[in-house]
Assembly symmetry: C2
Homo-oligomer: 360 residues x 2
């Protein structure tokens, strides 16, 4: 067990997107400094960082120097090369543990890991060739989802297969990279649990949110999710089991499907070893946000409150919707969060807003 990093210490963050930006702001509340490492020249998090490094994630020298200048290293995106974490780890402690990234970056490793823990996942099969895909399809059934093992996010790197004859075209469309074939789970809803685990193993949970996606991108999250207390309990149990098995430190998000017609039966869809879009509502509906609790955990501080003082709906602002910032800014009972991104490309997350309601 390490000593807590005192106020004035520096948190190093690999990645400079909106998650890094909100982590930086959370760290500032605690009197901690932020050093952002990014491979882009002016990412959103630079505007609120005390120190900045621009270098590639394969630049071992830059990573060593960066880690030498900070007191702890963390990460705001999950596809960071594990070699980068290892390089940084030679000069500073790294949280969450690199194994969490290795598991989350590979859909096959992730599913194997979950199955070993006895956690339900969608039926799946590893796919390396058209022949393997054709052989696996009848067992998985239709429709089925073909997903690349690596680098998938926001619905990218996946394709729906509706009949045996679509197999070859599906593999073509993902460039014949190693893949996983998944059965489609018929679900009532998607929920996610944001948990935070401290260095001493203390686990706290935020309330599960119900998440709605549009075009493969998270559109809205709301708390409380309309699920039973038993289902909340099961969801937390699963997230806790995962965090403990990984000896996790920091915030972790587990996305789950609630099976159709079967109250508390949950199937895990994905693990994100980081703060997560479906936890943004904690910024305004909780005293201590997911961002601050991640910083507290990796800095060895006592975890903060995860209870909710209000009900909330969080909605993402995507692409050209950002032009409507005046409307969002004047909406009643609503807070607006913009990420400081200049170019509003289609599908790009530009910000979000949160509407609060009295707690039910």
């Amino acid at each position: 067990m390490r000593e807590a990093l005192p106020p004035g210490s520096t948190i190093g963050i690999l990645g400079g997107g909106q998650l890094g930006r909100m982590l930086a702001v959370a760290a500032s509340r605690l009197g901690l400094k932020i050093h952002i490492y990014s491979d882009e020249p002016d990412p959103p998090a630079f505007a609120v960082a005390a120190a900045r490094t621009v270098a590639g994630y394969n630049d071992a020298d830059a990573l060593l120097k960066f880690a030498g200048a900070v007191d702890v290293v963390t990460c705001e995106f999950e596809n960071v090369p594990t070699a980068a974490l290892e390089a940084a780890g030679r000069n500073a402690p790294v949280f969450p543990p690199p194994r969490a990234f290795a598991v989350a970056q590979d859909r096959l490793a992730e599913k194997d890991f979950l199955q070993e823990l006895g956690i339900a996942v969608a039926p799946f099969a590893p796919i390396g060739s058209v022949r393997e895909l054709q052989a696996a399809l009848p067992g998985i059934g239709f429709p089925a989802l073909l997903k690349t093992r690596r680098f998938g996010y926001d619905g990218k790197g996946q394709v729906m297969i509706r009949s045996q004859s679509e197999a070859e075209a599906a593999l073509d469309s993902i460039g014949h990279v190693p893949a996983v074939l998944e059965g489609v789970v018929l679900f009532e809803r998607e929920i996610s649990v944001v948990a935070v685990r401290a260095q001493d193993g203390t686990l706290h949970f935020y309330d599960p949110s119900e998440n709605v996606h549009q075009d493969g991108i998270l559109a809205r999250s709301r708390v409380p999710a309309p699920i039973s207390a038993t289902c909340v309990f099961e969801a937390r149990k699963i997230a806790g089991k995962i965090a403990n098995a990984l000896s996790y430190v920091g915030v972790i998000c587990v996305e789950m499907f609630q099976r159709m017609g079967d109250g508390s039966a949950l199937v895990v869809n994905e693990i994100a070893p980081r703060v997560h879009n479906s936890g943004h509502w904690t910024l305004d509906a909780c005293l201590v946000s997911q961002f601050e609790n991640h910083i507290r955990a990796i800095a060895g501080w006592p975890l903060g409150e995860t209870s909710r003082h209000s009900d909330a709906v969080m909605a993402n602002i995507i692409g050209a919707d950002a032009d409507r910032w005046r409307d969002f800014a004047s909406a009643e009972g609503t807070s607006l969060h913009l990420y400081g991104k200049e170019e509003a490309r289609p599908g790009r997350k530009m910000g979000h807003f949160i509407r609060l309601y009295p707690k039910t």
Copy 2:
């Protein structure tokens, strides 16, 4: 009426203390950038600023250059030289209006301004010499407070006079600078109203807080203040009258005494033309804090919610109390805010914590 500054614009702030730091963080939520101007080499706000200038407040060239690099200029401390505001004003709009600083910086001008508006103040007399002081004391009565006209804050620059014979020593102790003699108001409590006024004159109010001082420094604020609805109404009316008379833009704080035994009779103690320590509770008990509403007002944005979702107590962390950060961080139902100051000098505001309670 100016156009609202779009996301991506830069807010220039004169001063780099904790108020500038929290303003910078609030601006980042709205996708706005911050440029901090400070006469210190590494003030708290630099750690969360996109751009930084170190120069004196009498350096006209530096002020012009600074104002030329930003889209609007504001201020986080009230004793900024008005000449600095005028210099900056040649290259950018400046909010709040410089007149608000001129009034707030001089206790005599402040009292004259309030009296002209028909707002009750403590009995007072301008003091320029021992003779004037001796002549004024019998009319004001004992005890009386001798206060420097300028540069008073946190109880500095004032001395209590308990008898006619203490007059000369009192003037000695404040160095014979121009002063004001004030009668002591017997009060039930001190309250303050944080208001925000937009460029179009829209006025919003946060709930009045009750404030408790120790050694001349604010120790705690709590909302709601235990005062009647009539008293809340009167307090808002006074703050609104002041803001309107100054054609104010931004957040203003008005400190008032509730007279002993006389329910809603209020006496104004002080005007602060800025975000204020007694409004820090808005960071966690409101959807939009005083800091964000100040930024919204000066940027020409729609004002945000000022309603309170929770009751709150804010307590300052002063001097060596900051060593107890672990205790504060682990207190139940409490958020911790540290300002990133290295040296915990006696009387120095190092941070604060906020405890929330369900709204009554």
